[in-house]
Each structure stands twice: as structure tokens, then as C-alpha cells.
Amino acid sequence: MPESVLSQLKTFTADRLDLDELVALATFGRQMRSEYEAHQLEEPEWLDVQLKSLRREIHSRNADKLEARRREITSRLDALKTPTEKRAELLKEKAKLDKQLAEVS
């Protein structure tokens, strides 16, 4: 198994992989790194480069996912508002506008 995972780790295109695959590759890469350390071998240069780009990609994917979920929840909450709540919000906005207009004129 390691042969195909190894070649994948060396040549992966991040956009083609899903989050699970990225995490699996990062796990394999980190295991490799610790084995190099355990055997006091010099770590290949590509491993560091690939692990860094994996970490960056996983981080950005996770941030995107959280942002998507946050916006989804905001929209859902907006849809759950009662007419009274919507009315109160509009009145609040109107009061703010009245105040601004008074300052302008």
C-alpha cells in the first residue's frame, strides 16, 4: 500500500482531493517524517514542501466549510423570524434612518 500512497503524496493535486483524502495523506506524511527522525535519517526536501501545502489546504478547506455553515445558520435563523420580530427590526432601522436624516438636514 505505501507505494501508491507515497507516489500520491509526492504528486497530489490538492483540488482533486476531498478533505478526508487530504487528511489521510497528511497523516501518512507525518508518519514518514517521524520514521525519518526515529532512524536519524535526513528528511527529503519534498516531504516538508508537501506537508506544508497539505496543512495549508486542510486549514483553508476547514475555514471555508465553517464559513459556509455559519452563513447557512444565519439564513435559517432569518427565515425563522416571526412577523413581530421582523416588524421590530424594521422599526429599529427606521428610527436609525430618522436620526441620520435629522443630522443631515
Binding site: 501508491s4 476531498d18 478533505l19 466549510k65 459556509a68 455559519r70 447557512e72 439564513s75 427565515a79
Partner: protein
């Protein structure tokens, strides 16, 4: 033993070809199959409904099977598979029965009534069907003179919607704020296409794009990628996250491999292209092909079509199989590339200087595998089969069989109209050859579908098809047909 599977194979190959809406293109071969392979055809209808990727064939096959002289079980199976279709396809099927003047007209009309009555019986599901298929249902009702219930008529024809219903929510979408509309779409799981129409230009708001992505089916996601690209799906973090999530869900869908190829070509953003290619890899990996394969591509004179088709076949196999895949271009000498796991663009780049020219020795590619002692489980040949130079394929195949003690299946993707020497020589040597005829105007997007039907055991696909049970109207529309059984 060699030729018994041929007509079955041709029938399977026919199913994988997209008719692009011209359903009557399936009629000649199905009519022929009804008389020669009636039982196989009935199981093929059932298998195609489960595994097929071409929607046209799912409609045309059962309709074209409705001919006189078939056992009642097969007719029932064909009607049952029509009843399994969604409303839009069901209407196309019914229209096709009218155009082609198929037999059993009264049963088909009754089928429409039972289909609509069955759907109408489940109120919640029926509301969603009405929401999405208003025009289809009206047309089905008009064509078959079906009497809808009062409530359905109010909604479908007079647009008078019950308070708090889905229809009312859709009508209100355009007056809501973008966030509220987005929340409503997700809360009530409103269908993507309907929302898109109801929202108009408002649909470009990021909150609404996110909600629409959330509600897209895998096929809708793939076919609308170009639109999503325009709406900034790769620029906005939240949209990017939602798109990635939706791609993850689409990866488990088998329904849209062909559409994914089209979408890759349509979009311009390289990152989105890569994401779609990743999706296609995952979809292809679900194909049922096993083992290691040798793809023999004819690069002799005037075989440009074979060269391009071979790239597509090799790329599809490379993604589907867990074993190795070798792509060998031949004229009178082989040129072999290990394409295991390689995507189409990589294969195209690696083989961009291959040009058609020279004589034809199909056997030279297999002879090379023999010399290198590479074991394979299947062979795909893309050629016009006009072999005119030694080593001949049937000789190399015989040597291969003796060396490894197994007869691996050989599939010929035949470019050309008349039989070549390959078919004749293999027939004379009592060797089996499965032939797929490639039309001159080959649709490359439908090739993966054909590749997916190849098996390392030559009879396993036929066995697989015959193992799919026939459907009955009593199981698909239980309310209507159980009543009939009881009455009888």
C-alpha cells in the same frame, strides 16, 4: 463457442450510446432483440434502469419492448419500468408510445391513470411533484384524460395555493430579503430549478447561491458548474465551502459521469476544472471493471479516430481498475505506456505526438507483453481490425493463453463499417471476440459507459444482467394492481 454472446453484446453496447433525445434510434435494435433475445431484453430493461447512465435508453427500451407476441411477464416488466420513471421521463415515454404507435394502447393509457393516482395518493410527495413538474402533469392529464382531484386542479390549473403550503413559500421568495429567502429554501428543501426561476436576478446574491448549491442534486451541481463559476463560487469562502461539500456528496453518485466530462470542458477556472476531474475520478472508481488491462490502439494509416478513442478508453480504465493499465499504440511495432492511475489530460499530453501511419499488426502489442511476461486480465483493441502484418493477434493470443493458462476476454472497439481480418481470423481459431461498433461521429463522453460494461470474465456481465429480477406493475404501483389481483 465464440459468437453466442455477440448479439447480447451489441445490445448492451447500443444502450451505452446516447441518442441525444432521438428515442426512435433505439427501436430497430430493440425490435430485433424482442424476437431473438426476448428474455435477455426483459432483464436488460431491468438492469439498465438500475445501472444505466443514458436516460434516453431507460425510456426507449421499455417502450420499444411493447410488441405483440411477448410473454405477459415481459410486457408487465416493460410497463413497470415505465412506471418507475420520474414524471418528465414518464411523459416522454408516453409520448413515444403514441408516436411509435406501440401495441397495448389501452394498457398504456391505464398505466398513466394508475401512475398519477399512485403519486396523488401520497399528499406530501405529490405537493413536491406538483411544485417541480406542473407542466408535465398538466400534459399527462390532458393526453390521457385523467381526472385530477379538486385540490390538485386548484393548484395546477388555477394557481390557488393553500395557506402555508410549499407553493405559497415559492411565490413569496421574490419578496423576501436574500437571507430570509435562503433560509426558506433550505428549511423547506425547495427544489433548485424552481427556486432559480422564482428568484430571477436575485439568485446572484451569495446567500442565495449558497442555498441553491445546498439544494442541487449531483446532476444539477455538475451541469450548473459554469453558472456557479460565473457567480464566484471559487472566490467567496462560504460558497467555496458549500461547493466542496456538494462535490463530496456528488462523488457517491453514479448518475452523471458523462455530464462531468462535459462540465470540465465548459468551465474556465483551472481550480474548478481540477475539482471536477477529482469528482469524475471518484465516480469512475465505482465502475465494475477489475484486473489489469492492455489497451491496443491502432495507429496505422487513417486511424486518427482510434488513437483518440484509445486515449479515452485507457483513461477510463485507469480510473476504474485497481490493477495495471498499459496503453500500446501499434502499426507494425508497439509503443507501450504504463497509464495506471493516469487521468485523460496526462495521457493526452504523453501521447500528443502519436500520429496515424504505417501497416497493421495487432498482435505485436500482445507479443511484447508476452516477451516482458506481463500478466493481464483483459484486452481492449481499438482498431478497424484490418490486420495485414505479422505477428497476427490470434497467434499471439494463442501463445498468451498457453503461457498463462487462461483465456482473457478480448473487446474490439471497431472503427469502420465492414468486418476486418481480425474477426475472421479469431473466428477461424475459435477464439472469442466481443465487438463494440464505434460510429464515425463518436461521442467520446459516452465511451466511459461502454468501458464500464467490460469484464475480466466474459460471461459475468450477462450473468449480472440476467440476475436482475423483472419488475411487476403490482410491485411498482401496489395500490392499483393489488386491487386488480384481489378482484380477480
Amino acid at each position: 463457442m465464440a459468437e453466442t454472446g455477440l448479439s447480447k453484446n451489441k445490445l448492451i453496447a447500443e444502450l451505452t450510446r446516447s441518442a441525444h433525445g432521438k428515442l426512435n434510434e433505439y427501436t430497430p435494435i430493440v425490435t430485433q432483440a424482442v424476437t431473438q433475445q426476448g428474455e435477455f431484453l426483459a432483464h436488460l430493461v431491468a438492469w439498465n434502469h438500475l445501472k444505466g447512465q443514458i436516460r434516453d435508453s431507460k425510456i426507449a427500451l421499455p417502450v420499444a419492448s411493447l410488441v405483440d407476441g411477448q410473454p405477459e411477464e415481459f410486457i408487465d416488466n416493460a410497463l413497470a419500468h415505465l412506471a418507475k420513471l420520474g414524471p418528465r421521463e414518464f411523459l416522454r415515454g408516453y409520448r413515444f408510445t403514441m408516436e411509435s404507435k406501440t401495441r397495448h394502447r389501452s394498457r398504456q393509457k391505464r398505466l398513466v391513470h394508475d401512475y398519477l393516482a399512485h403519486k396523488e395518493a401520497n399528499a406530501a410527495a405529490w405537493d413536491r411533484i406538483m411544485l417541480q413538474h406542473r407542466h408535465t402533469l398538466k400534459e399527462l392529464g390532458a393526453l390521457s384524460h385523467y381526472n385530477f382531484t379538486e385540490r390538485t386542479r386548484e393548484i395546477l390549473f388555477y394557481r390557488r395555493y393553500p395557506t402555508g403550503s410549499l407553493f405559497e413559500k415559492v411565490a413569496q421568495l421574490k419578496d423576501m430579503s436574500p437571507t430570509e429567502a435562503a433560509g426558506t429554501i433550505m428549511q423547506y428543501k425547495l427544489p433548485f430549478l424552481i427556486c432559480l426561476g422564482a428568484l430571477g436576478k436575485k439568485a446572484q446574491d451569495p446567500d442565495l447561491v449558497l442555498a441553491l448549491i445546498n439544494r442541487m442534486s449531483p446532476t444539477e451541481l455538475v451541469t450548473n458548474t459554469k453558472m456557479l463559476e460565473r457567480l464566484g463560487v471559487n472566490k467567496n469562502p462560504a460558497l467555496r465551502g458549500a461547493f466542496q461539500e456538494a462535490l463530496g456528496k456528488a462523488a457517491s453518485s453514479k448518475a452523471n459521469v458523462l455530464k462531468t466530462s462535459v462540465a470540465v470542458d465548459a468551465v474556465e477556472d483551472e481550480e474548478i476544472k481540477e475539482k471536477l476531474r477529482g469528482l469524475q475520478d471518484k465516480q469512475l472508481a465505482q465502475g465494475g471493471v477489475e484486473g489489469s488491462w492492455l489497451v491496443l490502439a491502432d495507429k496505422s494509416g487513417s486511424m486518427s479516430q482510434a488513437i483518440e478513442a484509445a486515449r479515452h478508453v485507457a483513461a477510463t480504465l485507469a480510473k476504474m481498475v485497481k490493477g495495471k493499465v498499459w496503453l500500446t499504440f501499434f502499426d507494425t511495432a508497439p509503443q507501450t505506456i504504463d497509464v495506471t492511475g493516469a487521468p485523460l489530460d496526462v495521457i493526452q499530453k504523453a501521447t500528443r505526438y502519436i500520429q496515424a501511419g504505417g501497416g497493421t499488426s495487432i498482435g505485436c502489442g500482445l507479443a511484447r507483453m508476452l516477451d516482458e511476461r506481463q500478466e493481464i486480465d483483459g484486452i481492449a483493441i481499438i482498431s478497424d481490425a484490418q490486420e495485414n502484418e505479422p505477428p497476427y493477434f490470434h497467434d499471439a493470443y494463442k501463445r498468451y493463453t498457453e503461457m498463462y493458462g487462461k483465456e482473457v476476454p478480448v473487446y474490439l472497439y471497431h472503427c469502420g463499417s465492414k468486418d476486418g481480418t481480425l474477426q475472421r481470423l479469431m473466428k477461424n481459431a475459435s477464439q472469442d471476440l466481443q465487438v463494440f461498433d464505434l460510429p464515425a461521429n463518436l461521442d467520446y463522453y459516452s465511451l466511459p459507459n461502454l468501458v464500464a460494461t467490460m469484464r475480466t470474465n466474459r460471461y459475468s456481465l450477462v450473468d449480472e444482467i440476467m440476475a436482475v429480477p423483472l419488475a411487476t406493475l403490482a410491485s411498482v404501483l401496489p395500490n392499483a394492481y393489488r386491487k386488480e389481483v384481489t378482484n380477480a
